[in-house]
């Protein structure tokens, strides 16, 4: 590893240490619904189209915002991200957005775009939607396959074109790389760029949720390295293509993202899940919950709990982190990659052959 990068990583480690002490709340996810209008093969939320778990009433979420969050933050510095399931399934989404806008919070959402008509898009923009991510997982056939809905590509394409027509909106497209689309990345890039996309994030699919039992969804190590090299070459060509925020990438640090690796879960990122559970990123579940808004004070939990997130030495107790020299920079990889027993699902350094 080059000396400059190593120094940068040590400085970033110091910055993260300070950040843990400060733990400023900067992003708050609200898992507004588990309902969804598609049935993605890789869904980590295990979302279904029927209402098995009811949506959290908007009043409950807004009460937490008003009584627990707003007294302690500058709302303009906290991005609220409405997620699901599919947030567009909520009929009151624009009303919630308006309420957040009134309170001074910028808000955004992640969507598959299927239900994003032009009218709905305009309504959400007027309600204060500032940032949006559209999921598009490949050329039409591959996208429809992953999303398991015949209209999925139509919806995503329309959503992308709507966003591209809106100059003051911050938006990007996210693609989950898998066995079916990994060889089509250049064609996907051409397609997205022709639609007006200029910010493209490419994720791998983690072995969790429905993806855990479907090998077609998971990249091989060789394919993962190809993905890294693809992103490097795209960035060298001047196109804003990035890998997701997850995973310490060793020698690829500084080359595939605009920032160095950090897992901000529980440090500057929190979430309120469908049943009121307080977590960090919405994919971190189970034993890593820190409380519940229906029993606990959200702000007290944010200030005083989240200990496993802010001190990750416990991850040293198991492989592959036990004697790993990269732990100083990696700190056990992303929290969402930890199983209930604390073991690590995936080490990116191992995937890259750097460990």
């Amino acid at each position: 590893m080059k000396a400059r990068l190593k120094i940068a990583l040590w400085l970033e480690r110091l910055r993260r240490k300070n950040l843990k002490e400060l733990h400023p709340l900067r992003q708050l996810f609200w898992e507004s619904t588990l309902r969804c209008n598609v049935h993605c093969l890789h869904c980590g939320s295990d979302c279904v189209s029927s209402v098995q778990t009811p949506d959290m009433p908007a009043e409950d979420f807004l009460k937490v915002i008003d009584t627990e969050v707003t007294p302690h933050v500058d709302p303009h510095n906290v991005l609220i991200i409405i997620s699901g399931g599919e947030p567009l399934m909520r009929k009151d989404l624009a009303d919630v957005g308006r309420a957040l806008k009134k309170r001074g919070y910028p808000w955004g959402m992640v969507t598959n775009g299927l239900a994003l008509t032009e009218a709905r898009f305009r309504e959400l923009r007027e309600s204060g939607l500032r940032s949006i991510t559209i999921s598009c997982d490949g050329l039409e056939e591959d996208h429809v396959w992953l999303r398991q809905h015949p209209l999925a590509f139509e919806g995503a394409s329309r959503a992308i074109r709507l966003c591209a027509s809106e100059p003051r909106l911050t938006w990007d497209v996210v693609t989950c790389a898998n066995q079916r689309n990994i060889d089509h990345l250049p064609a996907i890039r051409d397609m997205l760029w022709s639609m007006g996309v200029r910010d493209w994030r490419v994720f791998g699919i983690d072995p969790m949720g429905r993806a855990a039992s479907n090998p077609e969804l998971l990249l091989t190590d060789e394919q993962f390295r190809y993905l890294m090299d693809f992103i490097v070459s795209e960035r060298e060509a001047g196109r804003h293509v990035s890998y997701s925020c997850e995973g310490y990438l060793g020698d690829y640090e500084g080359r595939v993202r605009d920032h160095l690796y950090q897992c901000a879960a529980g440090i500057s990122v929190a979430s309120i899940l469908i049943d009121g559970s307080i977590s960090a990123c919405t994919s971190i579940r189970g034993k890593y919950y820190q409380g519940n808004i229906y029993k606990d004070s959200f702000w007290r939990v944010w200030e005083e709990e989240f200990k496993p997130y802010r001190d990750r030495q416990w991850m040293r107790e198991s492989e592959p982190c036990k004697d790993c020299k990269a732990f100083a920079f990696c700190e056990g990889n992303g929290m969402h990659l930890r199983r209930e027993d604390g073991s690590l699902m995936l080490c990116h350094l191992q995937r890259l052959g750097q460990k």
Binding site: R4, L5, A8, L9, L11, L14, R15, N18, L19, F29, N37, E59, L62, D66, T67, D74, L79, I81, M89, K91, D92, A99, K102, R103, G104, P106, G108, V110, L114, A115, T117, E118, R120, R130, S131, T133, S157, R158, T170, D172, R189, D190, M191, W193, S194, M195, R198, G238, R239, H240, S244, C245, E253, R255, R257, D258, H259, L260, A264, S268
Partner: protein
Amino acid sequence: MRKKFLNRMNVMLGALSLSLAGCHSTKQAVSQDDPPAKKYGPPRLEVIEEKYGIPSDLQEEPMDSVPEPTPVKYGPPVVAEEPVKCLYGVPYPRE
């Protein structure tokens, strides 16, 4: 005091580490080498409603009541000079 100090230190550390690592945004308004749309054609103009009808989940019903907001203490939004990095979820909004 300590909070202020740590925040200032972190701004410096962040800038220095990114600079040393060579991290930079490759965002451009338009690339001269944008691939032509000839393979995929011009964007289709028909909207989904014309072909398939409006999905039933788009029937709008306003919320019965919106709680009154807590007064915002900090004034109008500050326009960020530089986009804050996207950590997860959605990219940070910028003017």
